[in-house]
């Protein structure tokens, strides 16, 4: 199951401690981690809510341990409080999110409606790395990459899937993770960390530093797949919608990092087509990112949005025939 794969990947990535609060569709990430933790001398805490889980992750990262949480929908909303602290202090927070149909408690299977929340949900500028896996193997591979890049670049990092992928069963190669980036203490020695400042100039300087680091990281981190297919229209999609597009055999630009979005690559690829179709299970949360990235190119844009509904390959073939 996708959720079990995510927990296995966290273990392979060297995670030491998980904080979590049960919520469908990601509860099995927590329960699987707890079984793994018992076998592998790792730690966990079932907290009183997702805010506490997120702040627990922040505290554990400050102590120098790879820590993570997993949540969904309303839990992702509550987690934005600790995330804004993680952004301020550049804490290598890792979150494994199973999107739910929203708003509110909504549904639990298909959705791509937590794109904006996960990437930009704080009172900062949205310097967060967000991966969107399309299949079970990618849940494994991208979760390992998420831990590595979180500790390498020190930005909060997410693997954003949905209930469908979290609950899906199939074969996965739980391979050796290769070289892992080490964690080290952040709050130690004579370090006095601040997230509250006296002067506008102080927080401006912090923003300038973060922006510079983000730009440097973006070019290294952003990731995509381009699959020329049988159509003249280029489909922009991510996650399991992109998996359906792949199965449909259409030309596809699949964003593997939703944020940072691979802007230059997307522009180069899109120039080879006259028309693009943005297909997603939300009213354009991913579409806004794509349209901003492609701004100024002469392209016809078709937007197919179905919040909290899935897409079949046949449907996608029909849309872009």
């Amino acid at each position: 199951m996708g959720n079990e794969v995510a927990a296995q990947a966290a273990l392979a990535a060297g995670a030491e401690v998980m904080f979590g609060y049960p919520i469908t569709p990601t509860t099995e990430v927590l329960s699987t981690w707890i079984s793994l933790a018992t076998q592998h001398q790792k730690k966990y805490l079932q907290t009183e809510d997702e805010g506490a889980a997120g702040f627990g992750v922040v505290g554990a990262c400050l102590a120098g341990k790879k820590a993570f949480t997993s949540t969904a929908g309303p839990g992702n909303v509550l987690m934005q409080d600790p995330l804004s602290m993680a952004e301020a202090l550049r804490v290598p927070f890792v979150g494994l999110i199973g999107q739910r149909g929203g708003p509110s408690t909504g549904t639990v299977i298909y959705s791509q409606q937590e794109t904006t929340l996960t990437a930009f949900g704080g009172n900062g500028e949205g310097y967060r790395i967000v991966y969107s896996p399309s299949n079970l193997q990618e849940i494994y591979d991208l979760t390992i990459l998420a831990f590595n890049n979180a500790w390498l670049y020190r930005f909060p990092t997410f693997v954003l899937f949905d209930g469908y992928l979290g609950k899906m069963k199939g074969e996965v190669n739980l391979h050796n993770p290769g070289i892992l980036i080490n964690a080290k203490p952040i709050l130690e020695g004579n370090v006095n960390l601040r997230n509250c400042f006296n002067l506008e100039e102080e927080i401006y300087d912090l923003n300038v530093r973060h922006k510079k680091a983000w730009q440097e990281a973006s070019s290294q981190v952003s990731k995509f797949e381009h699959r020329p297919g049988q159509t003249k229209t280029l489909v922009f999609a991510h996650g399991i919608v992109a998996a359906a597009a792949k199965a449909a055999g259409v030309s596809l630009f699949r964003s593997i990092t939703l944020w940072p979005f691979p802007v230059q690559d997307a522009r180069i690829v899109a120039k080879k087509y006259e028309k693009i179709a943005i297909i997603e299970s939300s009213y354009g949360q991913f579409g806004r990112i794509v349209k901003e990235a492609l701004f100024g190119l002469e392209l016809e844009v078709q937007e197919i949005y179905k919040p909290a509904l899935g897409f079949t390959p046949e449907e996608i073939k029909e849309i872009v025939k």
Binding site: L45, T47, P185
Partner: protein, 237 residues
């Protein structure tokens, strides 16, 4: 004169607290305890958003701001990740008993081995003196302009008493006052020793002074503190 505690960061003095503030009196006792226990090297302090945040560079050991009410949850994570550290979570009465009560309660219920310090100044001091759970009956604040009316806002909140009722028996709970520094120091020391030796939760509420929001002179501040002690009994619970 008793010298400054060795664990103070000299370069950040004089401190950023208002003259006559109780935070500094509490820090002096806390600093002396840390010196005497010889734990400066392994102490880590989390600070809430409230006047406690002004202490971000007060000590010569690692400290971090958190969010309003979220210091306990953050330091629970720190301690779980690095149990070798002596972990302190300092917050105001608003941070501890209003917005962050859920986190404080559950840390106590779980007996998480850290020391929560809740400074009671009967108001939200940092934001200019609003009603807190601990505001006294009849006390004027900017959100209780006619004085706290218990029929509308309920009783002053007894934090240590509540925590005592949910925490395991071996957890340590006490309330002291900056007007009785030697006793307060004893409570702080016991709280840290409990964390270090027994690996249990400890909470010390500190009755403080806030001359700026109380609009009191030196004598008036201590008189107000005495009034607080009648509502909030100082003792080990």
């Amino acid at each position: 004169m008793v010298p400054f505690p060795k664990c103070y960061k000299q370069s950040s003095k004089p401190s950023k607290f208002c003259p006559g503030c109780g935070y500094g009196l509490m820090f002096k006792m806390l600093g002396q305890v840390i010196d005497e226990l010889g734990i400066q090297e392994k102490t880590v302090l989390g600070l809430d958003i409230g006047c406690s945040l002004l202490a971000w560079d007060y000590f010569d050991f690692p400290t971090t701001h958190t969010h309003h009410g979220r210091t306990t949850a953050t330091m629970v994570g720190f301690k779980l990740a690095d149990p070798s550290k002596v972990v302190l979570a300092l917050m105001g009465d608003g941070g501890g008993y209003a917005i962050g009560l859920q986190n404080l309660l559950h840390a106590a219920i779980r007996n998480n081995p850290l020391t929560a310090l809740v400074l009671n100044n009967t108001c939200y001091a940092m934001t200019g003196g609003q009603l807190a759970p601990t505001t006294l009956e009849g006390e004027i604040t900017s959100t209780t302009p006619k004085g706290r009316d218990l029929t509308i806002t309920g009783q002053p909140f007894l934090g240590p008493e509540l925590i005592r009722s949910v925490a395991p028996l071996n957890a340590y709970v006490a309330r002291g006052s900056v007007s009785q520094p030697a006793i307060l120091k004893k409570y702080l020391r016991t709280a840290l020793e409990k964390q270090i030796n027994d690996k249990v939760f400890s909470l010390v509420e500190i009755l403080s002074l806030c001359p700026v929001n109380w609009k009191t002179d030196a004598k008036g501040s201590f008189d107000f503190n005495l009034k607080m002690q009648k509502i909030f009994p100082c003792k080990e619970l």
